[in-house]
Symmetry: C2
């Protein structure tokens, strides 16, 4: 039995959920209010964050390491290219999203608007929300530019890079913070990835107090 | 010709320098004041940060992706274990240092004390310095605990995990922010890694306005 301790809108958890689902590995999702720092949870993961994956009798943390582990043990269907340059490009983009995009966009929008309220840690800072709303435009343009040259973000097949990007964007889309009209390439790419069976569980997420907009789960948004 | 655009005390650059040196790949180091955001530099790396590696006619960014690329193309001597579980553990620890340790320690101590002055962006915030000084203790204890069970951080051979940790700690040691008396395991581990030929260039670093303490380059500290 595979078990994932997660929170629904965490892009790091979503990336792992997409990997598991694409590889048809069934998982039991357990919501974990990691900010309450329960002793049980800290025993599972001293870093005190999600995702935490219980698999093969082991407890795994750090989403990038988890995804590479799943890829090595369950290589079909592949989410990494077979050539060195291709794998580099996937890892570069996963870092781009989980570091740069995360700091400039996700933490300014999602964490200000949702996490603060859910965790009871105050109100959104408008300067941060504004900075996030500005930064996402530049990132959508960058995605559009990549997709001008490639079918998927890191090349001509779907990889972990697409899942990393879609994990952040889908969480932001849940709070209507993505302007899908900004770039046709990006919209088409997201429509493609959103319609995959692996995406279904993510489109069914519900966060109490934050109902998703109608277009969130609509494949024809 | 391999060329690395870097800044001397950046732990991300140091990790790449250690990998290159361990694999005996000669590199020309070019100091890059990335915060001045020169157009030339931004053309090389739209993320606007270091390290940037010019190798095999390509321009590579994101230190974790760079190190995996070097490992795949130059597997000798290996800095990744040959088994899946071992590789997972290395990647987990690299993320631990480059994300958690970086946010809790390096950015609070090194960035407050040195980067702010070098970049002309103000004075250290004492609350952040205090938080960093507190957090490093907990991290040193964690390292000591790992080394109770293993010869190196991720297992019984030296890996990228050791380089990631040593990259952060050596940069902090340059400003005397590591208490080597806290844990014997950690001190012995650092003495071992510090005495490797790959470490020499790092021990020779000099940042104008910040002379290193005498023990910094001393193998018998």
């Amino acid at each position: 039995m595979i078990r994932l301790f997660h929170v629904p809108l965490s892009p790091f958890c979503r990336k792992v959920r997409l990997s598991l689902a694409e590889k048809k590995l069934e998982v039991e999702l357990v919501e974990e209010k990691y900010w309450e720092r329960s002793t049980d949870f800290l025993r599972r993961n001293p870093a005190g964050k999600v995702p935490v994956l219980k698999i093969d009798g082991k407890i795994l943390t750090e989403s990038a390491a988890i995804c590479e582990y799943l890829e090595e043990l369950h290589p079909t269907p592949p989410l990494m290219p077979s050539d060195v340059d291709g794998r580099y490009e996937v890892r570069r983009l996963v870092s781009w999203f989980d570091d740069k995009f995360h700091n400039e966009v996700t933490s300014n929008l999602l964490y200000e608007r949702v996490n603060k309220k859910v965790m009871g840690s105050g109100y959104p800072e408008s300067a941060r929300v504004k900075a996030g709303a500005k930064a996402i435009k530049y990132h959508l343009d960058y995605l559009g530019w990549l997709l001008d040259q490639r079918r998927w973000l890191a090349g001509n097949s779907m990889t972990l890079a697409d899942f990393a990007a879609a994990a952040h964007l889908s969480a932001l889309d849940y709070i209507s913070d993505v302007d899908w009209n900004r770039n046709d390439n990006v919209r088409e790419w997201y429509a493609k990835i959103k319609s995959r069976p692996a995406f279904r569980s993510i489109l069914a997420d519900q966060v109490p107090g934050f109902p998703p907009p109608a277009h969130y789960a609509d494949l024809d948004f």
